[in-house]
């Protein structure tokens, strides 16, 4: 950020007030550093100073105890603040999948051994409900939205359920998806619970009970939505405004930087050189050109487009010989070795005009037609007798005529002493053959 940019910062609140700083100490956080899921295990491991793998295995093993592992995990996840003192690192997916495989294996094994029984199943379903509520709770946490914004990226990775899905979606859509996912988990869990308990009581599966369970689940989800919905909605709105403000701010900073780097320096130079009219004109012209480019032109690479190559060449000539080049390009074409040679020959023609014509302005006109590319460089300067200079003038013979011939084109030079010179360059287009032409020694 340049110095000038800071004085005139618009009075927009660009960020919400920062969350109160958390006091340092051995508090329990979720850790963004080295996390696999939500960072609960990593946080606990840091807190207890034990290996993170041990904590994770403990969670997995506790999963067997009526799903206690998952319930605990969801509870921790819901209540623990996230530690942002360390930058988030890549998530540890390898370990995550290993643990997932391990837990699935364990549960299957227990189921096959018949050890789990109904109580175990109930525990597991309760765990599913807990995880679902955790997701919803987590999603509804307005503080979390702010953290996401502070991080500068939509933090889809913090919620594992559907996290992979949401990466490709917009922020709000992913939020709704995850919210719905949480609700789905709760509903499925409750249906399961009702079914299992009905079976346990030996009764027939009661549709009323199922419906009641579902209604309760819906009620719970609704409750959470009602409580956090408005807050959530506001924070999403604030988030959007903030993002727009930031884009504006970035643009403004870019303009400020450009004005500072170029315009102000040029103006300073002009003040210091105010006695030298030629130098002032040169500076002003260069600045005008660069501002124009900045304002109106997409940045094409001179290596890719003829128009950009010609603009670059004329800019160089303008700066070197303190003349102005009226550049008009109609149509455009990709640069291959032939077109590059054409641009180089045009540059040479402009250099000649700049050196010898003794004028303030020269014209460069290029037109891309279906069958050929033509470039005209014209000045109204001194002119010369073609016959007198043709053989010994390397610039003309080698760099213009010879170069065009090597690339399958031709060059004509028309000059009348006292009336000026026009160099005409023609290059036939062979779209089929592409760039198979020998590029000569350019």
């Amino acid at each position: 950020m340049p110095a000038t940019g800071q004085n005139r910062r618009p009075p927009i609140a660009l960020r919400p007030p920062a969350p109160a700083p958390v006091p340092p100490g051995p508090r329990l956080y979720r850790s963004t550093n080295g996390r696999a899921l939500a960072g609960v295990a990593a946080g606990i491991a840091q807190h207890l100073r034990v290996p993170v793998l041990a904590v994770r295995i403990a969670f997995v093993v506790l999963l067997v105890a009526y799903g206690l592992g998952a319930i605990l995990y969801a509870a921790f996840w819901a209540v623990l603040p996230v530690d942002r003192s360390t930058p988030p690192s890549r998530r540890d997916v390898g370990q995550l999948s290993a643990l997932a495989a391990l837990s699935i294996g364990l549960v299957t094994l227990l189921g096959m051994a018949g050890w789990g029984g109904t109580a175990f199943l109930i525990g597991l379903l309760a765990a599913v409900v807990a995880v679902g509520v955790g997701v919803i709770w987590h999603q509804a946490d307005p503080d979390r939205r702010r953290r996401m914004e502070d991080a500068g990226v939509p933090d889809v990775s913090k919620v594992p359920v559907l996290g992979a899905l949401s990466g490709a979606l917009g922020d709000r859509r992913s939020m709704i998806l995850r919210f719905g996912g949480g609700a789905l988990l709760v509903a499925v869990g409750i249906i399961g619970l009702v079914v299992v308990t009905s079976a346990l009581a030996g009764a027939q599966i009661s549709w009323t009970a199922l419906l009641n369970g579902l209604l309760f689940a819906l009620l719970a989800v609704l409750g959470i939505t009602v409580v956090f919905g408005p807050v959530l909605w506001r924070s999403v709105g604030a988030l959007r405004t903030e993002r727009e403000a930031r884009i504006r701010e970035t643009e403004r900073a870019e303009i400020a930087a450009m004005v500072h780097d170029q315009v102000l320096h040029t103006l300073a130079l002009i003040q210091r050189n105010s006695g030298d009219a030629r130098e002032v004109a040169r500076l002003a012209r260069g600045q005008e050109r660069s501002l124009r480019n900045w304002l109106y032109k997409p940045t094409a690479s001179p290596a890719e487009k003829l128009s950009a190559a010609l603009e670059e060449a004329s800019a160089e000539v303008e700066d070197t010989y303190a003349i102005s080049v009226d550049t008009v390009v109609v149509g455009d074409v990709d640069v291959d070795s032939d077109v590059a040679a054409l641009a180089a020959a045009a540059r040479e023609a402009m250099v000649n005009a700049g050196k010898h014509a003794g004028v303030d302005t020269i014209s460069l006109y290029a037109e891309v037609e279906p069958e050929q590319v033509s470039v005209f460089v014209r000045d109204r300067g001194a002119g010369f007798e073609l016959a007198a200079v043709r053989d010994d003038r390397h610039g003309v013979q080698g760099s213009i005529i010879g170069r065009m011939q090597r690339h399958g084109g031709r060059a004509e030079i028309r000059s009348t002493p006292g009336e000026g010179t026009e160099v005409r360059l023609y290059l036939p287009r062979r779209s089929d053959e592409g760039t198979n032409k020998e590029s000569g020694h350019d």
Binding site: L295, Y296, V328, Y365, F376, R378
Partner: protein, 217 residues
């Protein structure tokens, strides 16, 4: 038509007072500057009151810019000629103003003599085509087979008109074009005026948008 004894009456519309003062000073006694305006509304009422020969019109102004002035004046005062004088030579500005009815378009870096000459040419009914404008027009009227041509008369340039434009774009003066094409200067002027008319009346309504999209400068 103007007679040589009476200086041309010129009106300046530009929201930069410094620039108006500069142009007024540069034009000096070559023409008579009868009035100035800094806003679109002021320009519309003042031009109607003064009825100048030529209005030098800035493109970018608050509340509508030169285009709004042109559109307001064209019906009520068709005899007033407009010459756009802008710092911008972006294609959308140039083509936009010409299509709105300006008789020419010059940039603010033009010298005082050239500006005076351009004013005179516009006053005499001719069009002022800069090489750059000629380039834009050539590009805009380039054969694009995907676009339906609704009025072939207007939506195409004749070969001769194209040749004249090409020479203009190459930096030729009218008399040099006449010599090059073995036609009279009057004929060159006719071709240029026809091109201007086609540009202004052509059914290629998308011209300016097209130019803007292509970001032609």
């Amino acid at each position: 038509m103007t007679d040589e004894s009476r200086p041309l009456r010129v009106f300046l519309v530009d929201d930069h007072a410094m620039f108006r003062a500069g142009v007024r000073a540069e034009l000096g006694t070559r023409v008579s500057v009868v009035g100035e305006a800094a806003t679109v509304a002021e320009a519309i009422s003042s031009i109607a009151a003064h009825e100048p020969d030529v209005v030098l019109l800035d493109v970018h102004m608050p509340d509508g810019g030169g285009r709004a002035v042109l559109e307001a004046m064209r019906k009520t005062h068709p005899q007033v000629k407009f010459l756009a004088l802008s710092v911008s030579d972006a294609a959308e500005d140039v083509i936009g103003l010409i299509r709105a009815g300006a008789r020419g378009y010059v940039t603010k870096t033009i010298s005082a003599e050239e500006l005076a000459a351009a004013i005179r040419r516009v006053a005499e009914g001719d069009a002022v085509f800069s090489p750059r404008l000629a380039g834009f027009v050539l590009d805009a009227f380039a054969a694009r087979p995907d676009q339906p041509v609704s009025d072939p008369e207007l939506d195409q340039l004749t070969n001769r008109e194209r040749e004249v434009l090409r020479l203009l774009a190459r930096g030729y003066a009218y008399k040099e074009i006449a010599k090059e094409l073995y036609i009279s200067i009057k004929t060159v002027e006719t071709h240029v005026s026809n091109v201007l008319r086609k540009l202004q009346m052509s059914n290629r309504y998308e011209l300016s948008r097209w130019a803007a999209d292509r970001r032609l400068v």
